[in-house]
């Protein structure tokens, strides 16, 4: 394997937070929660920014053992055509959504860069904020997406443990650990304004994974001072294929991890999706978490068709409607914000100045 970047194992980048992650007692957890709440309130106030995923396609060329879209699953493959994308977006807009996450599997002949760029173009006409969670691309391809109105990308490393990574990714382009690891930097260099990172929690030893994500986030903030960095905390959910995670990530550990990230990175967005339960999501609002997904359909065509037939990438846990979720946030004295961006700012970052 070509050499790993220095930041990945640079303990100085995470030394302040490591002790917080290694504590196990309830008292320290409560103290950490209070600190995370105070930091979040000062910097972000009483708002939670919302986004919603839109699954464009479940074609996939990779063989990730933990994913319902992996290319050896037998479920029917599907991709939305231009008209369907438009319809899904209109359905999302009717729910008030102004921030969309476009998702695909790994690059295939059916779903490649040109398809994705077209989808971004369409989405940018309807939504001020368009984020892409797809496959690793080149700097030039990211430049192309940014010019079409893509404001951010999300790319999870899945696991930061290279050995484990090799075993979990059985074939396909995603086998290249380093190419994936350097994807956020290529995106920023291509002019994408914000990058979301994370580890799929449960694949490798949780404390080690948390520290690696933290180093990655801090490395990105330090190196690319104009780029927005956000961190997500996806935990493995049941999916087609029935993979059992190697490590259990308890609610308490996940909460501790999120609190520690908020204390360690006061002003980055921390994101929690509908993978988590309604109780956990409601509880974490404002305790570090500042962005959440709503009304998540994880099937292709899930917004227009009440009962979409394609397989889902994973099972949603918090399946409340947008209305019900917003009502719960309001009851906790938080304002669910559907639009917290404006298309006036959708210009590629000046790459030569970012690097």
């Amino acid at each position: 394997m070509s050499s790993l970047p220095a930041w990945l194992t640079d303990e100085r980048l995470s030394a302040d937070i490591e002790p917080l992650l290694r504590q196990m007692d309830d008292e320290s957890l409560e103290r950490l929660a209070a600190e995370a709440q105070a930091v979040t309130l000062r910097r972000f106030g009483r708002i939670i920014s919302l986004y919603a995923p839109l699954y464009l396609s479940n074609f996939c060329s990779s063989g990730c053992v933990y994913c319902g879209f992996a290319s050896d699953r037998t479920s029917p493959r599907r991709k939305l055509d231009v008209g369907e994308i438009e319809k899904e977006l209109m359905a999302m807009k009717a729910l008030g959504i102004g921030d969309v996450l476009l998702l695909t599997g790994e690059r295939t002949a059916a779903v490649g860069f040109d398809y994705l760029r077209r989808a971004v173009e369409i989405a940018a006409r309807h939504m001020p904020r368009v984020v892409v969670e797809a496959f690793p691309m080149s700097v030039a391809e990211y430049r192309g997406l940014a010019e079409c109105g893509c404001t951010g990308i999300t790319i999870y490393q899945e696991t930061y443990d290279p050995e484990n990574y090799r075993e979990l990714h059985r074939w396909g382009p995603k086998q290249d650990f380093l190419e994936r690891l350097e994807t956020p930097e290529r995106a920023i260099t291509g002019g994408i304004r914000s990058v979301g990172i994370g580890a799929l929690l449960g694949l490798s030893e949780p404390v080690g994974e948390a520290l690696a994500v933290l180093r990655h986030a801090r490395h990105l903030c330090r190196t690319y001072w104009k780029a927005g960095v956000s961190v997500s905390f996806p935990r493995i959910r049941p999916q087609e294929g029935g993979f059992q995670p190697n490590f259990t990530v308890s609610d308490r550990f996940l909460a501790r991890m999120i609190f520690a990230f908020r204390v360690g990175m006061a002003d980055v967005d921390l994101v929690l999706s509908t993978r988590e339960s309604s109780t956990f999501r409601d509880g974490m609002a404002g305790l570090g978490i500042t962005r959440m997904s709503i009304a998540s359909r994880t099937t292709v065509g899930g917004y227009v068709e009440a009962d979409a037939t394609s397989a889902s990438q994973f099972e949603v846990c918090d399946d409340r409607s947008a209305e019900a979720f917003c009502a719960a946030l309001r009851a906790k004295n938080f304002d669910p914000v559907f639009k917290n961006w404006d298309a006036a700012y959708n210009n590629p970052l000046a790459a030569e100045e970012s690097a």
Binding site: R42, G45, D335, F338, W341, A344, N347
Partner: protein
């Protein structure tokens, strides 16, 4: 004498409120009313023409006697800020623009170079330009030269609640300025707002400290009183601080007796 002049507008209230970070639009509106403010800033990114429940502009525009000052929060460059300002003017009908350019989306510190560029363009286009700036006396004068209607130096970082950590620089800006100086960002308590007014600020802009208070409306009212008290105290003439102690052998004895 007793009103705040910004461009051709006059205001009797010297408290400007930010409208983000509140737990709901109604909590924000209550705070605005309780503060008696006549000028509020609202981010273009929170204008939502598609989903009125989510929109801050609509409910604010219904309050009588309230002037809106859109802001360009989210802009990373002068070009983006200018575009956002023009769109905001179309949407709000207000000639005010609070120029906020922060290329780093995390700490949100204003970019002095891009801010100057944008202000020069917007002032020439007839906007009442109110730039959010680092507390830099030279930049403040440069912005006055290009036609800004005020300068708004930060007390400390947005949302930090660290108060007037830039007090010495703000004093220098005030001493040299021919346009109103308004402290914006970082204030945590009404006493800090009062201190800013006593120091010579013409107004104070507060957001987080009110939005995240347990009772935002009560906190807004407290800030309004503090701002008024500080302004009144300044006009009443503050007692001089006690100077250096007078030496027993007079420093000026060599001058001889007055003839």
């Amino acid at each position: 004498m007793n009103s705040l002049r910004l461009g051709s507008y006059t205001f009797s209230s010297r408290l400007i409120l930010g409208t983000g970070k509140f737990s709901s639009a109604s909590a924000m509106i209550e705070a605005v009313r309780a503060s008696g403010t006549q000028l509020v800033t609202v981010a273009l990114r929170r204008f939502n023409r598609e989903q009125l429940e989510d929109d801050l502009f609509g409910p604010l525009s219904e309050i009588e006697g309230l002037t809106l000052m859109p802001n360009t929060s989210g802009a990373a460059t002068a070009r983006e800020a200018v575009k956002a300002a023009r769109i905001s003017r179309e949407l709000s009908g207000s000639p005010f623009i609070k120029v906020e350019i922060h290329p780093n989306p995390h700490h949100l510190m204003p970019d002095p170079i891009e801010t100057w560029e944008a202000c020069k363009i917007l002032a020439a286009e007839g906007f009442i330009v109110m730039p959010y700036i680092p507390a830099d006396p030279v930049l403040a004068k440069r912005l006055e030269e290009v036609g800004c209607s005020s300068v708004m130096p930060l007390g400390s970082a947005i949302g930090s609640g660290q108060g007037l950590s830039t007090a010495e620089m703000v004093k220098l800006i005030i001493r040299e300025s021919n346009i109103p100086v308004i402290v914006d960002a970082g204030l945590r308590s009404p006493s800090e707002a009062c201190a800013a007014m006593e120091m010579g600020c013409e107004a104070v802009l507060v957001n987080s400290a009110v939005a995240v208070a347990r009772d935002p409306a009560a906190m807004a009212s407290a800030f309004a009183k503090a701002v008024e008290a500080g302004f009144e105290a300044r006009n009443a003439g503050l007692m001089p601080r006690s100077g250096a102690a007078v030496a027993t052998s007079l420093l000026t004895s060599f001058l001889g007796a007055a003839s």
